[in-house]
Protein backbone atom coordinates (compact mmCIF):
# COMPACT_ATOMS: atom_id res chain seq x y z
CA UNK A 1 0.00 0.00 0.00
CA UNK A 2 1.32 3.40 -0.95
CA UNK A 3 1.54 6.29 1.47
CA UNK A 4 -0.55 9.47 1.33
CA UNK A 5 2.06 11.38 -0.67
CA UNK A 6 4.08 9.88 -3.55
CA UNK A 7 7.07 11.45 -5.28
CA UNK A 8 7.92 9.85 -8.64
CA UNK A 9 11.48 10.17 -9.92
CA UNK A 10 13.39 8.49 -12.73
CA UNK A 11 15.49 8.97 -15.82
CA UNK A 12 14.23 10.91 -18.87
CA UNK A 13 11.63 8.77 -20.60
CA UNK A 14 11.49 6.15 -17.85
CA UNK A 15 7.73 6.58 -17.71
CA UNK A 16 7.26 8.95 -14.73
CA UNK A 17 4.40 10.95 -16.21
CA UNK A 18 2.46 8.00 -17.64
CA UNK A 19 2.80 6.19 -14.31
CA UNK A 20 1.82 9.28 -12.28
CA UNK A 21 -1.32 9.81 -14.33
CA UNK A 22 -2.24 6.12 -14.22
CA UNK A 23 -1.73 5.87 -10.45
CA UNK A 24 -3.65 9.09 -9.83
CA UNK A 25 -6.63 7.81 -11.79
CA UNK A 26 -6.49 4.22 -10.57
CA UNK A 27 -6.14 5.17 -6.90
CA UNK A 28 -8.57 8.12 -7.16
CA UNK A 29 -6.03 10.56 -5.74
CA UNK A 30 -6.96 14.17 -5.02
CA UNK A 31 -3.91 15.89 -6.50
CA UNK A 32 -1.42 15.45 -9.31
CA UNK A 33 1.48 17.89 -8.96
CA UNK A 34 3.50 18.22 -12.17
CA UNK A 35 6.95 19.44 -11.12
CA UNK A 36 8.63 18.73 -14.45
CA UNK A 37 10.44 21.93 -15.33
CA UNK A 38 13.12 20.08 -17.32
CA UNK A 39 11.24 18.51 -20.20
CA UNK A 40 9.15 20.73 -22.47
CA UNK A 41 7.07 17.93 -24.06
CA UNK A 42 4.91 14.98 -22.99
CA UNK A 43 4.09 16.33 -19.54
CA UNK A 44 1.22 15.21 -17.37
CA UNK A 45 -0.10 18.81 -17.35
CA UNK A 46 -1.23 18.31 -20.96
CA UNK A 47 -3.95 16.03 -19.57
CA UNK A 48 -5.89 18.61 -17.57
CA UNK A 49 -9.23 17.64 -19.13
CA UNK A 50 -8.76 13.97 -18.37
CA UNK A 51 -7.74 14.73 -14.78
CA UNK A 52 -10.73 17.06 -14.39
CA UNK A 53 -13.01 14.22 -15.47
CA UNK A 54 -11.56 12.10 -12.69
CA UNK A 55 -11.83 14.91 -10.15
CA UNK A 56 -8.07 15.12 -9.74
CA UNK A 57 -6.73 18.62 -9.12
CA UNK A 58 -3.76 19.40 -11.36
CA UNK A 59 -1.02 21.64 -10.00
CA UNK A 60 1.47 22.87 -12.58
CA UNK A 61 3.53 25.92 -13.38
CA UNK A 62 1.98 27.71 -16.31
CA UNK A 63 -0.04 30.83 -16.79
CA UNK A 64 -3.64 29.91 -16.05
CA UNK A 65 -5.37 28.65 -19.17
CA UNK A 66 -2.14 28.45 -21.17
CA UNK A 67 -0.81 24.95 -20.69
CA UNK A 68 2.08 25.46 -23.08
CA UNK A 69 3.43 28.61 -21.50
CA UNK A 70 6.77 27.32 -20.31
CA UNK A 71 7.23 29.34 -17.16
CA UNK A 72 10.45 28.94 -15.21
CA UNK A 73 8.82 28.61 -11.80
CA UNK A 74 7.41 25.91 -9.58
CA UNK A 75 3.93 26.46 -8.25
CA UNK A 76 3.69 27.09 -4.51
CA UNK A 77 0.35 25.29 -4.64
CA UNK A 78 2.43 22.11 -4.55
CA UNK A 79 2.69 22.67 -0.76
CA UNK A 80 -1.02 22.22 -0.17
CA UNK A 81 -1.20 18.40 -0.18
CA UNK A 82 1.81 18.22 2.14
CA UNK A 83 0.13 20.49 4.68
CA UNK A 84 -3.34 18.94 4.50
CA UNK A 85 -3.53 15.43 5.89
CA UNK A 86 -6.96 14.76 4.42
CA UNK A 87 -5.75 14.79 0.80
CA UNK A 88 -3.73 12.34 -1.27
CA UNK A 89 -1.30 13.39 -3.99
CA UNK A 90 1.28 12.22 -6.48
CA UNK A 91 4.21 14.44 -7.48
CA UNK A 92 5.54 13.90 -11.01
CA UNK A 93 9.18 15.08 -11.08
CA UNK A 94 11.41 15.96 -14.03
CA UNK A 95 14.04 13.56 -15.34
CA UNK A 96 17.31 12.63 -13.58
CA UNK A 97 18.64 14.09 -10.34
CA UNK A 98 18.24 17.55 -11.87
CA UNK A 99 14.51 16.95 -12.00
CA UNK A 100 14.39 15.99 -8.31
CA UNK A 101 16.04 19.26 -7.26
CA UNK A 102 12.71 21.12 -7.17
CA UNK A 103 11.72 19.07 -4.13
CA UNK A 104 13.98 21.22 -1.94
CA UNK A 105 11.36 23.91 -1.60
CA UNK A 106 8.75 21.37 -0.46
CA UNK A 107 10.72 19.25 1.96
CA UNK A 108 10.33 21.65 4.88
CA UNK A 109 6.55 21.30 4.61
CA UNK A 110 6.64 17.56 5.12
CA UNK A 111 5.61 17.03 8.74
CA UNK A 112 6.02 13.28 8.86
CA UNK A 113 8.31 11.43 6.44
CA UNK A 114 6.24 8.28 7.09
CA UNK A 115 3.51 9.87 4.97
CA UNK A 116 5.78 10.06 1.93
CA UNK A 117 6.81 7.49 -0.63
CA UNK A 118 9.72 8.48 -2.85
CA UNK A 119 9.65 6.04 -5.76
CA UNK A 120 12.18 5.50 -8.50
CA UNK A 121 10.95 4.32 -11.90
CA UNK A 122 13.37 2.03 -13.70
CA UNK A 123 13.44 0.61 -17.21
CA UNK A 124 16.51 -1.56 -17.73
CA UNK A 125 16.26 -0.90 -21.48
CA UNK A 126 17.25 2.69 -20.78
CA UNK A 127 21.06 2.46 -21.14
CA UNK A 128 21.67 4.77 -18.15
CA UNK A 129 19.81 2.36 -15.83
CA UNK A 130 20.64 -0.95 -17.47
CA UNK A 131 22.51 -2.67 -14.64
CA UNK A 132 22.27 -3.01 -10.86
CA UNK A 133 25.31 -0.80 -10.52
CA UNK A 134 23.82 1.95 -12.74
CA UNK A 135 20.54 1.85 -10.84
CA UNK A 136 22.26 2.04 -7.44
CA UNK A 137 24.26 5.02 -8.70
CA UNK A 138 21.10 6.71 -10.00
CA UNK A 139 19.32 6.23 -6.69
CA UNK A 140 22.34 7.54 -4.80
CA UNK A 141 22.25 10.69 -6.97
CA UNK A 142 18.53 11.25 -6.25
CA UNK A 143 19.07 10.75 -2.53
CA UNK A 144 22.12 13.02 -2.46
CA UNK A 145 20.23 15.73 -4.34
CA UNK A 146 17.07 15.64 -2.22
CA UNK A 147 18.36 14.28 1.12
CA UNK A 148 15.36 11.93 1.00
CA UNK A 149 15.53 8.13 0.95
CA UNK A 150 14.07 6.27 -2.00
CA UNK A 151 11.38 4.06 -0.41
CA UNK A 152 10.46 1.85 -3.33
CA UNK A 153 11.01 0.85 -6.94
CA UNK A 154 8.73 0.71 -9.95
CA UNK A 155 9.77 -1.78 -12.60
CA UNK A 156 8.82 -0.20 -15.92
CA UNK A 157 11.06 -2.38 -18.04
CA UNK A 158 9.77 -2.15 -21.59
CA UNK A 159 10.70 -1.66 -25.21
CA UNK A 160 7.30 -0.10 -25.94
CA UNK A 161 5.39 -2.18 -28.52
CA UNK A 162 8.24 -4.69 -28.70
CA UNK A 163 8.12 -5.71 -25.01
CA UNK A 164 8.26 -9.47 -24.38
CA UNK A 165 7.86 -11.63 -21.26
CA UNK A 166 11.63 -12.30 -21.26
CA UNK A 167 12.26 -8.53 -21.01
CA UNK A 168 9.90 -8.15 -18.05
CA UNK A 169 11.55 -11.15 -16.35
CA UNK A 170 15.01 -9.69 -16.96
CA UNK A 171 13.90 -6.36 -15.47
CA UNK A 172 12.49 -8.12 -12.43
CA UNK A 173 15.74 -9.99 -11.93
CA UNK A 174 17.80 -6.78 -11.91
CA UNK A 175 15.33 -4.90 -9.72
CA UNK A 176 15.12 -7.78 -7.22
CA UNK A 177 18.85 -7.44 -6.77
CA UNK A 178 18.58 -3.67 -6.21
CA UNK A 179 15.67 -4.29 -3.85
CA UNK A 180 17.74 -6.72 -1.77
CA UNK A 181 20.82 -4.49 -1.62
CA UNK A 182 18.88 -1.37 -0.58
CA UNK A 183 16.20 -3.23 1.40
CA UNK A 184 13.36 -1.43 -0.38
CA UNK A 185 10.42 -3.11 -2.12
CA UNK A 186 9.55 -3.31 -5.81
CA UNK A 187 6.10 -1.76 -5.42
CA UNK A 188 4.87 -2.19 -8.98
CA UNK A 189 5.69 -3.89 -12.22
CA UNK A 190 4.20 -2.00 -15.13
CA UNK A 191 2.46 -3.88 -17.94
CA UNK A 192 1.12 -1.90 -20.87
CA UNK A 193 -2.64 -2.41 -21.30
CA UNK A 194 -2.18 -3.63 -24.86
CA UNK A 195 0.07 -6.43 -23.56
CA UNK A 196 -2.44 -8.24 -21.35
CA UNK A 197 -0.77 -11.63 -21.80
CA UNK A 198 2.41 -10.55 -20.00
CA UNK A 199 2.81 -11.44 -16.34
CA UNK A 200 4.88 -10.22 -13.43
CA UNK A 201 6.20 -11.91 -10.31
CA UNK A 202 7.18 -8.98 -8.11
CA UNK A 203 5.14 -6.11 -6.80
CA UNK A 204 1.63 -5.13 -7.70
CA UNK A 205 0.80 -5.32 -11.41
CA UNK A 206 0.14 -1.84 -12.78
CA UNK A 207 -1.77 -2.02 -16.05
CA UNK A 208 -0.67 1.09 -17.84
CA UNK A 209 -2.85 3.09 -20.19
CA UNK A 210 -0.78 5.35 -22.43
CA UNK A 211 -2.31 8.77 -21.91
CA UNK A 212 0.63 11.14 -22.37
CA UNK A 213 2.20 9.94 -25.63
CA UNK A 214 0.11 10.17 -28.80
CA UNK A 215 -1.11 6.98 -30.37
CA UNK A 216 0.84 7.53 -33.60
CA UNK A 217 4.14 7.76 -31.74
Amino acid sequence: MRRRITFIAGHYGSGKSEISVNLAIQDKLNYLVDLDVVNPYFRSRALKELLDEHDITLVESTIEGKLNSDMPYVSGKGRFPLQHKEVTAIYDLGGTENGTRVLHQFIEYIEDLKEVDFLCVVNIFRPETATTKDILKTIMMYEAETQLKITGLINNTNLMGETTQEMIDEGEKVLQEVSKILDIPVLYTVIEETKQNLTCAFGERLDLNRYVAKKWL
Binding site: Y12, G13, P40, Y41, F42, D70, F125, R126, P127, M160
Partner: protein
Protein backbone atom coordinates in the same frame (compact mmCIF):
# COMPACT_ATOMS: atom_id res chain seq x y z
CA UNK B 1 24.36 -3.89 -27.54
CA UNK B 2 20.87 -4.98 -28.68
CA UNK B 3 17.84 -2.72 -28.76
CA UNK B 4 17.51 -0.04 -26.11
CA UNK B 5 14.81 2.52 -25.36
CA UNK B 6 16.05 6.03 -26.02
CA UNK B 7 14.84 9.59 -25.98
CA UNK B 8 15.42 11.15 -29.41
CA UNK B 9 18.00 13.70 -28.35
CA UNK B 10 20.02 11.09 -26.45
CA UNK B 11 19.78 8.67 -29.36
CA UNK B 12 21.09 11.29 -31.80
CA UNK B 13 23.95 12.10 -29.43
CA UNK B 14 24.99 8.47 -29.06
CA UNK B 15 24.67 8.00 -32.84
CA UNK B 16 27.21 10.79 -33.30
CA UNK B 17 29.66 9.02 -30.97
CA UNK B 18 29.08 5.78 -32.89
CA UNK B 19 29.59 7.66 -36.16
CA UNK B 20 33.08 8.64 -35.07
CA UNK B 21 32.40 12.21 -33.98
CA UNK B 22 35.65 13.57 -32.49
CA UNK B 23 34.37 16.87 -31.16
CA UNK B 24 31.12 18.63 -30.25
CA UNK B 25 30.69 22.37 -29.87
CA UNK B 26 27.33 23.82 -28.94
CA UNK B 27 25.18 26.08 -26.83
CA UNK B 28 21.96 24.97 -25.05
CA UNK B 29 18.49 25.61 -26.43
CA UNK B 30 15.14 23.83 -25.98
CA UNK B 31 14.03 21.33 -27.32
CA UNK B 32 17.43 19.76 -27.99
CA UNK B 33 19.14 20.14 -24.60
CA UNK B 34 19.38 16.44 -23.79
CA UNK B 35 21.68 16.11 -26.83
CA UNK B 36 24.55 18.25 -25.51
CA UNK B 37 23.75 17.08 -21.97
CA UNK B 38 24.30 13.48 -23.05
CA UNK B 39 27.49 14.36 -24.91
CA UNK B 40 28.81 16.36 -21.96
CA UNK B 41 28.76 13.09 -20.00
CA UNK B 42 29.81 10.68 -22.71
CA UNK B 43 32.23 12.43 -25.10
CA UNK B 44 35.06 12.70 -22.60
CA UNK B 45 34.45 9.13 -21.38
CA UNK B 46 35.00 8.05 -24.99
CA UNK B 47 38.15 10.12 -25.41
CA UNK B 48 36.45 12.83 -27.46
CA UNK B 49 36.01 16.58 -27.05
CA UNK B 50 32.93 18.36 -25.68
CA UNK B 51 32.79 22.14 -25.39
CA UNK B 52 29.82 24.21 -24.29
CA UNK B 53 30.70 27.46 -25.96
CA UNK B 54 29.68 30.97 -24.91
CA UNK B 55 27.29 31.34 -27.83
CA UNK B 56 26.02 29.70 -31.01
CA UNK B 57 28.30 31.95 -33.07
CA UNK B 58 31.32 30.76 -31.09
CA UNK B 59 30.20 27.13 -31.42
CA UNK B 60 29.95 27.17 -35.20
CA UNK B 61 33.35 28.86 -35.52
CA UNK B 62 34.85 26.18 -33.25
CA UNK B 63 33.29 23.66 -35.64
CA UNK B 64 34.99 25.50 -38.51
CA UNK B 65 38.36 25.30 -36.77
CA UNK B 66 38.14 21.68 -35.67
CA UNK B 67 36.85 20.57 -39.08
CA UNK B 68 39.75 22.42 -40.70
CA UNK B 69 42.12 20.46 -38.48
CA UNK B 70 40.60 17.23 -39.81
CA UNK B 71 38.27 16.23 -36.98
CA UNK B 72 34.79 14.82 -37.38
CA UNK B 73 32.74 17.57 -35.82
CA UNK B 74 29.15 18.00 -34.66
CA UNK B 75 27.09 20.93 -33.49
CA UNK B 76 23.42 20.89 -32.61
CA UNK B 77 20.83 23.53 -31.91
CA UNK B 78 17.22 24.47 -32.48
CA UNK B 79 15.81 26.94 -34.99
CA UNK B 80 16.81 30.36 -33.54
CA UNK B 81 20.23 28.94 -32.65
CA UNK B 82 20.69 27.54 -36.16
CA UNK B 83 19.76 30.98 -37.51
CA UNK B 84 22.63 32.44 -35.49
CA UNK B 85 25.00 29.86 -36.96
CA UNK B 86 24.30 30.71 -40.60
CA UNK B 87 27.40 32.85 -41.12
CA UNK B 88 29.65 30.07 -39.86
CA UNK B 89 27.84 27.51 -41.98
CA UNK B 90 28.43 29.39 -45.24
CA UNK B 91 32.11 29.82 -44.28
CA UNK B 92 32.37 26.07 -43.65
CA UNK B 93 30.73 25.28 -47.00
CA UNK B 94 32.90 27.90 -48.71
CA UNK B 95 36.08 26.51 -47.17
CA UNK B 96 34.94 22.99 -48.15
CA UNK B 97 34.97 21.49 -44.70
CA UNK B 98 32.98 18.52 -43.43
CA UNK B 99 30.69 19.02 -40.44
CA UNK B 100 27.39 17.67 -39.17
CA UNK B 101 24.72 20.04 -37.89
CA UNK B 102 21.60 18.81 -36.12
CA UNK B 103 18.60 21.14 -36.12
CA UNK B 104 15.81 20.09 -33.73
CA UNK B 105 13.25 22.54 -35.07
CA UNK B 106 10.84 24.59 -32.97
CA UNK B 107 8.23 27.16 -33.92
CA UNK B 108 9.33 30.51 -35.39
CA UNK B 109 9.90 33.12 -36.65
CA UNK B 110 12.19 34.87 -34.20
CA UNK B 111 12.24 33.25 -30.78
CA UNK B 112 8.93 31.61 -31.66
CA UNK B 113 8.04 28.83 -29.24
CA UNK B 114 9.48 25.57 -27.94
CA UNK B 115 7.01 23.14 -29.44
CA UNK B 116 7.75 21.18 -32.67
CA UNK B 117 7.87 22.74 -36.13
CA UNK B 118 9.22 22.20 -39.62
CA UNK B 119 9.50 25.94 -40.16
CA UNK B 120 13.17 25.96 -41.18
CA UNK B 121 12.61 24.09 -44.45
CA UNK B 122 13.44 27.08 -46.64
CA UNK B 123 16.40 28.10 -44.51
CA UNK B 124 17.80 24.57 -44.67
CA UNK B 125 17.18 23.89 -48.37
CA UNK B 126 17.94 27.37 -49.73
CA UNK B 127 20.83 28.19 -47.46
CA UNK B 128 20.43 30.75 -44.70
CA UNK B 129 23.91 32.09 -45.27
CA UNK B 130 25.25 34.04 -48.22
CA UNK B 131 26.46 32.76 -51.55
CA UNK B 132 25.98 29.68 -53.72
CA UNK B 133 26.10 26.73 -51.37
CA UNK B 134 23.80 23.96 -50.21
CA UNK B 135 23.70 21.54 -47.32
CA UNK B 136 23.11 17.84 -47.88
CA UNK B 137 20.00 17.69 -45.72
CA UNK B 138 18.43 14.58 -44.21
CA UNK B 139 14.99 14.49 -42.57
CA UNK B 140 14.48 11.22 -40.65
CA UNK B 141 11.01 10.21 -39.40
CA UNK B 142 11.99 7.82 -36.60
CA UNK B 143 14.74 7.48 -34.02
CA UNK B 144 16.14 4.42 -35.77
CA UNK B 145 16.37 6.29 -39.04
CA UNK B 146 17.84 9.34 -37.28
CA UNK B 147 20.51 7.15 -35.67
CA UNK B 148 21.40 5.40 -38.93
CA UNK B 149 21.52 8.66 -40.90
CA UNK B 150 23.61 10.49 -38.27
CA UNK B 151 26.15 7.67 -38.24
CA UNK B 152 26.35 7.89 -42.04
CA UNK B 153 26.27 11.69 -42.13
CA UNK B 154 29.90 11.93 -40.97
CA UNK B 155 30.86 9.82 -44.00
CA UNK B 156 28.77 11.99 -46.34
CA UNK B 157 30.27 15.19 -44.92
CA UNK B 158 33.80 13.83 -45.37
CA UNK B 159 33.00 12.58 -48.88
CA UNK B 160 31.68 15.93 -50.11
CA UNK B 161 33.76 18.11 -47.80
CA UNK B 162 30.50 19.93 -47.15
CA UNK B 163 28.25 20.38 -44.12
CA UNK B 164 25.43 17.88 -43.67
CA UNK B 165 22.23 19.01 -41.96
CA UNK B 166 20.09 16.62 -39.93
CA UNK B 167 16.66 18.26 -39.96
CA UNK B 168 14.29 16.96 -37.31
CA UNK B 169 11.57 18.62 -35.28
CA UNK B 170 11.16 18.79 -31.52
CA UNK B 171 9.00 15.67 -31.47
CA UNK B 172 11.83 13.49 -32.77
CA UNK B 173 14.08 15.08 -30.15
CA UNK B 174 11.70 14.42 -27.29
CA UNK B 175 10.01 11.14 -28.10
CA UNK B 176 10.93 7.66 -26.90
CA UNK B 177 11.53 4.72 -29.23
CA UNK B 178 13.47 1.44 -29.28
CA UNK B 179 16.73 1.80 -31.21
CA UNK B 180 19.48 -0.53 -32.39
CA UNK B 181 22.80 1.30 -32.57
CA UNK B 182 24.65 -1.47 -34.36
CA UNK B 183 22.92 -1.25 -37.77
CA UNK B 184 25.51 -1.26 -40.52
CA UNK B 185 25.43 1.99 -42.44
CA UNK B 186 26.84 2.77 -45.87
CA UNK B 187 30.58 3.43 -45.96
CA UNK B 188 31.52 6.08 -48.50
CA UNK B 189 34.68 5.99 -50.59
CA UNK B 190 36.76 8.47 -48.62
CA UNK B 191 40.10 9.91 -49.64
CA UNK B 192 42.75 10.76 -47.03
CA UNK B 193 42.32 14.26 -45.59
CA UNK B 194 45.45 15.71 -47.19
CA UNK B 195 43.94 19.23 -47.09
CA UNK B 196 43.92 19.65 -43.31
CA UNK B 197 45.55 22.53 -41.45
CA UNK B 198 46.68 20.51 -38.44
CA UNK B 199 50.18 21.88 -37.87
CA UNK B 200 51.79 18.82 -39.41
CA UNK B 201 54.43 19.99 -41.90
CA UNK B 202 56.16 16.62 -42.30
CA UNK B 203 53.54 14.43 -43.93
CA UNK B 204 51.92 17.12 -46.10
CA UNK B 205 52.69 20.60 -47.40
CA UNK B 206 51.30 23.68 -45.69
CA UNK B 207 47.53 23.88 -46.12
CA UNK B 208 45.37 26.98 -45.85
CA UNK B 209 41.68 26.84 -44.92
CA UNK B 210 39.91 29.82 -46.41
CA UNK B 211 36.74 31.03 -48.09
CA UNK B 212 38.16 34.33 -49.40
CA UNK B 213 38.89 34.51 -53.15
CA UNK B 214 39.52 38.12 -54.16
CA UNK B 215 40.24 37.29 -57.78
CA UNK B 216 36.90 36.96 -59.62
CA UNK B 217 38.17 34.19 -61.90
CA UNK B 218 39.39 32.19 -58.92
CA UNK B 219 36.09 32.70 -57.12
CA UNK B 220 34.11 31.74 -60.22
CA UNK B 221 36.15 28.55 -60.55
CA UNK B 222 35.62 27.88 -56.86
CA UNK B 223 31.87 28.36 -57.24
CA UNK B 224 31.78 26.02 -60.24
CA UNK B 225 33.73 23.43 -58.28
CA UNK B 226 31.18 23.65 -55.45
CA UNK B 227 28.33 23.43 -57.97
CA UNK B 228 29.71 20.11 -59.25
CA UNK B 229 29.27 18.70 -55.76
CA UNK B 230 25.67 19.86 -55.55
CA UNK B 231 24.98 18.53 -59.07
CA UNK B 232 26.40 15.18 -57.98
CA UNK B 233 24.18 15.13 -54.88
CA UNK B 234 21.15 15.84 -57.08
CA UNK B 235 22.06 13.27 -59.73
CA UNK B 236 23.14 10.42 -57.48
CA UNK B 237 22.04 10.86 -53.89
CA UNK B 238 18.38 11.78 -53.69
CA UNK B 239 16.68 9.68 -51.04
CA UNK B 240 13.00 9.00 -50.56
CA UNK B 241 10.49 6.35 -49.60
CA UNK B 242 7.27 5.47 -51.44
CA UNK B 243 4.69 4.15 -48.98
CA UNK B 244 1.50 2.30 -49.98
CA UNK B 245 1.88 3.64 -53.51
CA UNK B 246 0.66 0.51 -55.36
CA UNK B 247 -2.98 1.08 -56.27
CA UNK B 248 -2.89 4.57 -54.74
CA UNK B 249 -5.39 7.06 -56.16
CA UNK B 250 -4.04 10.05 -54.26
CA UNK B 251 -0.81 10.73 -52.35
CA UNK B 252 0.48 12.72 -49.40
CA UNK B 253 3.91 14.37 -49.61
CA UNK B 254 5.39 14.67 -46.12
CA UNK B 255 8.75 14.40 -44.36
CA UNK B 256 9.91 13.76 -40.78
CA UNK B 257 7.32 13.54 -38.00
CA UNK B 258 4.56 14.61 -40.36
CA UNK B 259 5.05 11.55 -42.57
CA UNK B 260 4.83 9.46 -39.44
CA UNK B 261 1.41 10.88 -38.64
CA UNK B 262 0.47 10.45 -42.31
CA UNK B 263 1.16 6.71 -41.89
CA UNK B 264 -1.69 6.57 -39.36
CA UNK B 265 -3.83 8.76 -41.63
CA UNK B 266 -3.55 6.38 -44.61
CA UNK B 267 -4.70 3.49 -42.40
CA UNK B 268 -7.79 5.50 -41.45
CA UNK B 269 -8.33 6.38 -45.12
CA UNK B 270 -8.11 2.70 -46.09
CA UNK B 271 -10.93 1.98 -43.62
CA UNK B 272 -12.99 4.50 -45.59
CA UNK B 273 -12.09 2.83 -48.88
CA UNK B 274 -9.56 5.44 -50.00
CA UNK B 275 -6.18 4.17 -51.15
CA UNK B 276 -3.69 6.89 -50.32
CA UNK B 277 0.09 6.70 -50.73
CA UNK B 278 2.86 8.71 -49.12
CA UNK B 279 5.84 10.16 -50.95
CA UNK B 280 8.34 10.72 -48.16
CA UNK B 281 11.42 12.83 -48.94
CA UNK B 282 14.36 11.60 -46.83
CA UNK B 283 16.71 14.16 -48.38
CA UNK B 284 15.06 17.56 -48.45
CA UNK B 285 18.20 18.81 -50.23
CA UNK B 286 18.66 17.44 -52.80
CA UNK B 287 14.86 17.33 -53.14
CA UNK B 288 13.81 13.86 -54.38
CA UNK B 289 12.46 14.94 -57.77
CA UNK B 290 12.99 11.41 -59.09
CA UNK B 291 10.29 10.10 -56.73
CA UNK B 292 7.62 12.14 -58.49
CA UNK B 293 8.41 10.39 -61.79
CA UNK B 294 7.55 7.09 -60.06
CA UNK B 295 4.06 8.14 -58.97
CA UNK B 296 1.31 5.86 -60.37
CA UNK B 297 -0.58 7.40 -63.30
CA UNK B 298 -3.83 7.32 -61.28
CA UNK B 299 -2.40 9.79 -58.78
CA UNK B 300 -3.36 13.26 -59.99
CA UNK B 301 -3.61 14.99 -56.63
CA UNK B 302 -0.82 15.51 -54.14
CA UNK B 303 -1.51 16.72 -50.61
CA UNK B 304 1.55 18.37 -49.09
CA UNK B 305 1.42 18.12 -45.28
CA UNK B 306 3.89 20.05 -43.16
CA UNK B 307 4.29 21.74 -39.80
CA UNK B 308 4.74 25.13 -41.50
CA UNK B 309 2.66 27.26 -43.85
CA UNK B 310 3.67 25.41 -47.01
CA UNK B 311 7.40 25.84 -47.47
CA UNK B 312 7.87 22.58 -49.40
CA UNK B 313 5.13 23.38 -51.95
CA UNK B 314 7.57 25.18 -54.28
CA UNK B 315 9.81 22.11 -54.46
CA UNK B 316 6.83 19.85 -55.17
CA UNK B 317 5.70 22.23 -57.95
CA UNK B 318 9.19 22.26 -59.47
CA UNK B 319 9.36 18.46 -59.29
CA UNK B 320 5.95 17.95 -60.92
CA UNK B 321 6.11 20.76 -63.51
CA UNK B 322 2.36 21.33 -63.51
CA UNK B 323 1.39 17.68 -63.99
CA UNK B 324 -0.44 17.35 -60.66
CA UNK B 325 -2.92 19.31 -58.55
CA UNK B 326 -1.09 20.44 -55.44
CA UNK B 327 -3.04 20.76 -52.19
CA UNK B 328 -1.75 21.72 -48.79
CA UNK B 329 -2.49 21.11 -45.14
CA UNK B 330 -0.29 22.49 -42.38
CA UNK B 331 -0.28 23.35 -38.71
CA UNK B 332 2.06 25.91 -37.18
CA UNK B 333 2.97 27.43 -33.87
CA UNK B 334 4.03 24.10 -32.39
CA UNK B 335 0.69 22.41 -33.00
CA UNK B 336 1.10 18.91 -34.41
CA UNK B 337 -1.56 17.85 -36.93
CA UNK B 338 -3.69 14.90 -35.82
CA UNK B 339 -4.08 11.95 -38.20
CA UNK B 340 -7.80 12.78 -38.50
CA UNK B 341 -6.99 16.28 -39.76
CA UNK B 342 -4.77 14.81 -42.48
CA UNK B 343 -7.58 12.38 -43.41
CA UNK B 344 -9.95 15.34 -43.81
CA UNK B 345 -7.40 17.21 -45.94
CA UNK B 346 -7.00 14.21 -48.26
CA UNK B 347 -10.77 13.72 -48.53
CA UNK B 348 -11.23 17.41 -49.28
CA UNK B 349 -8.55 17.33 -52.00
CA UNK B 350 -10.15 14.20 -53.47
CA UNK B 351 -13.59 15.80 -53.39
CA UNK B 352 -12.36 18.94 -55.12
CA UNK B 353 -10.81 17.02 -57.97
CA UNK B 354 -13.94 14.86 -58.43
CA UNK B 355 -16.20 17.90 -58.78
Amino acid sequence: MGKVLMKGNEAMALAAIKGGCDAFFGYPITPQNELPEYLSKHMQANGRVFVQSESEVAAINMVYGAAGAGARVLTSSSSPGIALKQEGITYIAGAELPAVIINVMRGGPGLGGIQPSQGDYKQITRGGGNGDYYLYSLAPESLQEAVDLIKESFEIADYYRNPVMIAVDGLIGQMMEPVDFDHEVKKWDLKPKDWVADGDRKSHPKNIINSLYLDPTDLENHNLKLKKKYDDMKANHQRYEMINMENAEIAIVAFGSTSRIARTAIQLLKEQGVNCGILRPITIYPFPEKAFKELPKEVKDLVVVEMNTGQMIDDVKIATMGTHNIHFYGRVGGIVPEAEEIVDAVLKARGESNE
